[in-house]
């Protein structure tokens, strides 16, 4: 079977995201299904500068904390949201 490519997840750890709820996402080992974690390459990363633009691709206003999944930036991500975004990405892979 062809080895599936890993989902690339980047959690912003810029100060702005970190202090507005992003810090909690770093505890992903506590709330993500290990099977999902296995399918992902999760890393922290510096500011996306997403805080400087206030709209996402669909024109909706976005707020910190930001997470990038396979190149798409999502705003206002909490633990639950992160889990569902990753699950979606895994299912679509």
């Amino acid at each position: 079977m062809k080895k599936k490519e890993k989902i690339k997840v980047k959690i912003c750890v810029g100060t702005s995201c970190f202090v507005q709820g992003g810090a909690d996402l770093l505890l992903y080992n506590d709330f993500l299904d290990p099977a999902l974690i296995d399918r992902c390459e999760i890393e922290g990363c510096s500011c996306f500068d997403a805080c400087k633009q206030i709209e996402d691709a669909t024109g909706k206003e976005i707020k910190p904390p930001f997470v990038e999944i396979n190149g798409t930036i999502h705003g206002s991500v909490d633990a639950q949201e992160l889990a569902s975004l990753i699950r979606k990405a895994v299912n679509n892979a």
Binding site: K10, I11, V13, G14, T15, S16, F18, V19, Q20, G21, A23, D24, L26, L27, N29, I42, E43, G44, C45, S46, C47, F48, D49, A50, Q53, E68, I73, D78
Partner: protein, 487 residues
């Protein structure tokens, strides 16, 4: 206590950021009255009854940030700009540290134990058999609690095999260790300031954000604008509150406008040294036990509720006081700003007179964002020689101070130690008993916040994460972060 990551805290942070931004740009007086509309625009989806109430609450949060005693000085006709002018003209008195927003209070009904539908009306009926006041009877095959008789002991919850009894609390009253929270005749929250020890537990427990601290932000902002030599005294719990190392945090603080950054642990080294001597000396003099004295909320507790403990508390200078004194003696022109997780520290600072401002981590976080300072992107600043006090960074954790003092006690002396890890109704009661029956330990560390200062009301991240970050274990992946992507 509420989980630290919640909508209220996020909104509070946004308010702080907006206010500081406007202040930095010099437009605060002109634009402050627009902030509620900016944060809650017309089309937003309200989490309270309507956007108008949300805006009103934003207005109160700004007032709290300006240091206004909302309970006393709320004038709905007065524009925020007028409050800003007052805050800029003179510093508001520190006490009371906490104030209430009646508009936000949900006037929760009195706390009660009730039997839910899950009751199966079992034959054994342990709830009825174990209720010490006979408050439970059975009606139509189900248990029922007589609210007038119930003493809220919780026995029925423990014994019900079906978990059918539930406790509906009043969060602020439940969190207050000294019963300082009362409801007025209309059912809204009121604080009895003669009893309040300014621990801040009510403020971080209310799910409606109806209890707030009167911030010390503006005196600090004014200091930073002055041309004086401003020294930041950073509490050891700062490590773990921001992404990045202590060295980076120090650089970030210099960017915020502080002229010098010093660790309070520096003073803690001296405190621990003196306390070690004091404990042994008292032991030889036959006094039964000594308690620590650097938790300001505990000091307030002694003053207001347990004066009999005054003779048992340590008399050595607290770390903040030692360091502030040192800085003033090095340069009498220096102005000192304590940055920590604590609200009660403002009272201590006022009493000392050597600490000129007190800031919380939460307010500092907003300053970083308003000034677009990213701690992770900062260069490391050298922390200097920390060998004599490095271990004292542990003062931020429950039990940490004990370790440091024990280590400095002369060999040959053996003392027993004990920690009071967090003040709640129960532990406060146990302090009352010490007079009759002295504890077996000779040195007792008392911390108002469970887990220590890293769980203080002014913190930004939850203690479990802060602990991981403090140990340098940057939760697996983050080390690869620097400059990894740019949009």
């Amino acid at each position: 206590m509420l989980e630290i990551n919640n909508q209220y805290n996020l909104v509070k942070r946004r308010v702080q950021i907006e206010v500081i931004k406007e202040f930095i740009q010099g437009n605060l007086i002109d634009d402050v009255d627009k902030i509620p509309y900016k944060l809650i625009p017309k089309e937003s989806d309200p989490s309270r009854c309507c956007i108008y109430k949300e805006r009103a609450m934003i207005r109160y949060r700004i007032m709290a940030l300006l240091g206004v005693n909302i309970e006393k000085d709320d004038d709905e006709m007065k524009p925020l700009a007028a409050y800003v002018k007052e805050a800029l003209a003179h510093d508001a008195p520190v006490q009371p540290v906490l104030t209430t927003i009646t508009t936000g209070c949900s006037s929760c009904p009195r706390d009660q134990f009730i039997v839910s539908d899950l009751c199966r009306g079992c034959f054994a009926r342990p709830c009825m058999a174990n209720c010490p006041v006979d408050a439970i009877d059975f009606r139509q095959g189900k248990a029922h609690i007589d609210q007038d008789r119930c003493i809220r002991c919780g026995k029925c919850i423990e014994v019900c095999p079906f978990h059918s009894v539930i406790h509906i609390p009043v969060p602020c009253e439940g969190a207050c260790p000294v019963d300082a929270i009362k409801k007025n005749e209309r059912g809204f929250v009121e604080i009895d300031y003669t009893r309040c020890i300014s621990c801040g537990k009510c403020a971080i427990s209310c799910p409606f954000g109806a209890i707030v601290e009167r911030s010390g932000l503006f005196p600090v902002l004014k200091l930073l604008r002055s041309k004086k030599n401003i020294v930041a005294l950073i509490h050891p719990s700062i490590d773990g509150q921001f992404p990045g190392t202590l060295g980076q945090i120090k650089t970030a603080l210099l960017h915020v406008g502080f002229d010098e950054v010093r660790e309070v642990s520096e003073g803690a080294g001296e405190t621990a040294e003196h306390m070690a001597g004091e404990v042994v000396q008292r032991l030889h003099q036959g006094s039964p036990f000594t308690t620590t004295n650097n938790c300001s909320a505990y000091m307030e507790l002694i003053e207001r509720h347990n004066p009999q403990l005054e003779k048992s508390r340590s008399l050595v200078a607290t770390p903040m006081s030692v360091l502030a004194q040192k800085i003033k003696s090095e340069n009498s022109q220096s102005q000192t700003v304590f940055i920590g997780p604590c609200l009660a520290k403002r009272i201590e600072a006022e009493k000392l007179g050597t600490v000129d401002g007190v800031l919380t981590f939460s307010e500092l976080a907003a300053m970083f964002i308003a000034k677009k300072i990213d701690v992770r992107e900062m260069e490391e600043t050298d922390l200097g020689d920390v060998t004599s006090y490095e271990d004292c960074r542990e003062f931020a954790l429950s039990g940490g101070q004990l370790h440091c003092v024990e280590k400095r006690i002369a060999s040959g002396e053996s003392i027993k130690t004990m920690t009071i890890n967090g003040l709640d109704k129960k532990t406060v009661k146990s302090l009352d008993n010490w007079e009759r029956k002295a504890p077996v330990s000779q040195l007792i560390e008392v911390m108002s916040c469970e887990g220590g200062c890293i769980n203080g009301p002014g913190c930004v991240v939850k203690p479990s994460l802060a602990l991981k970050l403090r140990n340098g274990k940057a939760t697996t992946p983050v080390q690869s972060a620097k400059k990894s992507t740019k949009l």
